[in-house]
């Protein structure tokens, strides 16, 4: 990877592999993360491919039931812990939060590097799980199956998630201290870009939720290896306690996977519409509201797990409340685009794709929050489709959109604009074709995690697998032109979108210490002037 000749950026000095592997530069660490999560995305995608190919026919003919269990479990564990959770914060967040805060680096650069190494160690443990025969508990590690019945690599898989969890804690920890203590002169809280607000809210979830799942996974490992039976029904232990502890993190973790994406979209919507984000403070506080409410809804995963019906009612109502701040964001983005000077460049395609998919994912969440309906839909493909719409339709769309938006800044190169639009359309169409049929299948009662199904559901499953193929082509295409652009892409100027914000005032790619002069902020974020011509440079 080389920067355009004649410029000195973070990419080209100091040279050498050791300088990259021991770097404390947040931008280089972001790039290390970007490369690593791409590898795990491909691996998780491989297991998804196995699952979809198996479901092409009603009979279980490609994989044995045991192998199928392992395929969907590894798909879940790898995609969630090693791709979705770090996807936006550890790459775009790591790269841009210090720049948006007007500082040279995160508060603790060495801890930032440690976070990447923990991620790699956790990732290698996950690869060891794959090599040593896999794991079949589902990514949720439910007891007592995980502690007493499963004969697969549960302990190692749980410890891989544990280590990756600490890498996520350290990222969140660094962001919070940076936002509190490192802001440039004049950069008040309400002048911060909404990207920073979203990451701040995400970081709160990371530091408050992740430790709980960490100790829970330790308990599972201790029960398997040392016989300390905390959840063992034979001793009077309660397996449902595991579910409470697990979902106390893992539901908020869903917001770790979507909030940063929302932050990215806020930046992109304002820049591509050339307009101040409508209701800045509402969008900012809605991030915090989602983070806080997110901690109060974990019980909606236990409607069918012997939870008290009164607890279920409360969880049901609070879950519906999450729709309010989510809708605030969606409405405000739409209102930002309304009467804006929308430029139809590739980031805009990703924004609109995100909004459409997030809308469907969010509204179907309300169906599932309704306790009575959830009795019918629990553990069906409806749930699978719902959370893929949020996590893949929402977050991956926002992540990839963000990559298109920030690629010129991060690498100093431009990708082929037309292909950027083509891949956005391919991903959008492929995604809908993959997952919309799953809503129907789930509503008809097809349970998740089975490798065979009745013949009358085959048409919808074939559509879904075909859609996954289109999705795969879209991802491969964009991977191809991003890599191509590193070597052959047109050299990017400072501010290709004519956007406001500190990150667009520094060279592309940024110099090692980000700013030529220490910045002083004098105006609010998104101070777009109502005009069509854009001064570039």
């Amino acid at each position: 990877m080389t920067a355009p000749a004649g410029r000195h950026s973070y990419l080209d000095e100091p040279h050498g592999v050791a300088a990259w592997l021991l770097t404390r530069d947040h931008k280089r660490i972001a790039m290390l993360y970007l490369i690593s999560i791409t590898v795990f995305f491909a691996l998780g995608g491989f297991f998804a491919t196995l699952v979809r190919l198996e479901l092409l026919t009603p009979q279980g003919d490609l994989l044995t039931p045991d192998l199928y269990n392992k395929a969907f479990t590894l798909h879940g564990i790898i995609m969630i812990f090693f791709f979705l959770v770090p996807a936006v914060p550890a790459t775009l967040g790591n790269f841009f939060i210090p720049i948006m805060c007007g500082t040279k680096d995160l508060a603790f650069p060495r801890i930032n590097l440690l976070s990447w190494y923990l991620y790699i160690i956790g990732g290698l443990m996950a690869l060891a799980v794959v090599a040593m025969g896999g794991v079949d508990t589902g990514w949720t590690f439910y007891t007592p199956y995980s502690t007493h019945a499963s004969a697969t690599m549960v302990t190692l898989a749980a410890m891989a998630a544990f280590v990756a969890g600490f890498s996520s804690i350290l990222t969140g920890f660094n962001f919070i201290v940076t936002v509190h203590r490192m802001r440039a002169p004049g950069l008040t809280w309400f002048r911060l870009p909404l990207f920073v607000w979203a990451h701040y809210a995400t970081s709160l979830v990371m530091i408050l939720g992740t430790p709980v799942v960490a100790i829970t996974l330790v308990l599972v490992a201790a029960e398997r290896t040392l016989g300390l039976g905390i959840f063992d029904p034979k001793l009077g232990g309660d397996p449902v306690l595991f579910q409470h502890l697990f979902w106390f993190y893992s539901h908020p973790a869903v917001y770790i996977m979507i909030l940063p994406g929302m932050g990215v979209i806020s930046e992109m919507v304002a820049a591509m519409s050339r307009k101040q984000v409508f209701g800045y403070s509402f969008v900012a506080f809605s991030s915090l509201a989602i983070a806080i409410l997110g901690f109060l809804v974990w019980g909606h995963h236990l409607f069918m797990s012997s939870q008290s019906i009164y607890a279920g009612l409360v969880f049901s109502i609070i879950t519906m409340l999450v729709a309010v701040p989510s809708a605030v964001k969606t409405f405000n983005w739409t209102a930002t685009m309304y009467k804006g000077s929308i430029s139809w460049e590739s980031p805009t395609y990703w924004i609109i794709g995100f909004m459409g998919l997030f809308l469907i994912g969010g509204l179907t969440g309300l169906f599932l929050a309704t306790m009575g309906l959830d009795v019918h839909l629990t553990d069906t493909y409806f749930v699978v489709a719902h959370f893929h719409y949020i996590m893949v339709g929402g977050n991956v769309m926002a992540f990839l959109g963000g990559l298109h938006f920030y690629w010129p800044k991060m690498t100093g190169r431009k990708y082929p604009e037309t292909l950027g639009k083509v891949s956005a359309v391919l991903v959008f169409v492929g995604f809908n074709l993959t997952f919309f049929p799953q809503f129907v299948l789930g509503y008809m009662g097809m349970p998740r995690r089975y490798h065979a199904y009745p013949a009358e559901w085959q048409v919808l499953n074939v559509l879904s697998t075909g859609g996954a193929g289109i999705l795969g082509i879209g991802y491969t295409l964009l991977f191809g032109y991003f890599v191509w652009s590193l070597f052959k892409g047109e050299v990017a100027e400072r501010n290709p979108w004519g956007a406001t914000g500190l990150e667009w005032q520094i060279p592309s790619p940024p110099p090692t210490f980000n700013f030529e002069q220490d910045p002083v902020v004098t105006e609010p974020a998104y101070n777009y002037k109502p005009r069509r011509e854009v001064t570039v440079g």
């Binding site: 500082t103 680096d105 203590r181 709980v212 039976g229 009077g236 232990g237 502890l245 210490f513 030529e516």
Partner: protein, 236 residues
């Protein structure tokens, strides 16, 4: 080290950019901070946030404790009465003393007394080690009496009591692990203090390590009554 963030190189960059020159840069000021105050505030806030994650980490265990204590009060009383309150109480006293010497060490750094730091840090390490030695004998006693969960657990005792001891070992075990890490940190801090690293202008590392030490003590302050004194409180 061939790294752009090497301190000297970073300083060149900062000064070349016409950074605030009003006060000379302290050699311990890292390149990405404006001032020593900002650096100290960042590290203290960082430690507090780390401690929040620690609270949540232990929080999961305390939740399990509360749930099972409510479900099985009798087993909890019986389990508590199997613990050695004198050893636990003595250890509580030892840890409170270590917190005092820790505070005195931080104070010594702030007023610039090298001897005060060294004496108090050594005392802190000694108190911490005493705690671990006592804990070792307690654990050994549990092994002898078949109170360690697993296949060797006394079959005469009810299942929930085994859960009590599982929680006892995990909670005190993770706490002891934090003590070991704490003693390791204190050895590093002692070496720094020995070299005269800390001054009234630069005492961040000792202050931040002190916060961690106090946190580990406070966890014990909660564990002691919840595990050892419960039997006195509820039973007999």
């Amino acid at each position: 080290m061939a790294n752009a963030h090497d301190t000297t190189l970073a300083h060149g960059a900062v000064e070349a950019h016409g950074h605030d020159q009003a006060h000379a840069h302290h050699p311990k000021l890292q390149h990405h901070f404006y001032s020593m105050e900002q650096q100290l505030e960042a590290s203290i806030l960082g430690m507090w946030i780390f401690l929040v994650t620690e609270i949540m980490f232990f929080g999961g265990l305390f939740l399990a404790y509360i749930v099972y204590r409510t479900m099985y009060p009798e087993a909890w009383i019986a389990g508590s009465n199997h613990l050695n309150t004198y050893m636990g109480g003595g250890n509580t006293l030892v840890l409170i003393c270590s917190s005092l010497t820790m505070v005195l060490a931080v104070r010594a750094a702030q007023v610039g007394s090298r001897t005060g730091q060294i004496v108090n840090l050594i005392l802190t390490i000694l108190f911490g080690s005493t705690f671990l030695v006592v804990k070792f004998f307690e654990y050994a006693e549990k092994f002898e009496h078949h109170l360690v969960p697993g296949p060797n657990f006394d079959p005469a005792l009810p299942g929930p009591e085994q859960i009590f001891f599982a929680l006892y070992f995990i909670m005190t075990g993770i706490h002891a692990l934090h003590m070991v890490v704490g003693i390791g940190i204190m050895l590093v801090i002692l070496r720094m203090a020995w070299k005269g690293t800390f001054t009234p202008e630069y005492y961040g590392p000792i202050e931040v390590s002190g916060l961690y030490w106090h946190f580990v003590d406070i966890v014990w302050i909660f564990l002691f009554p919840l595990l050892y004194l419960l039997g006195f409180h509820l039973g007999h």
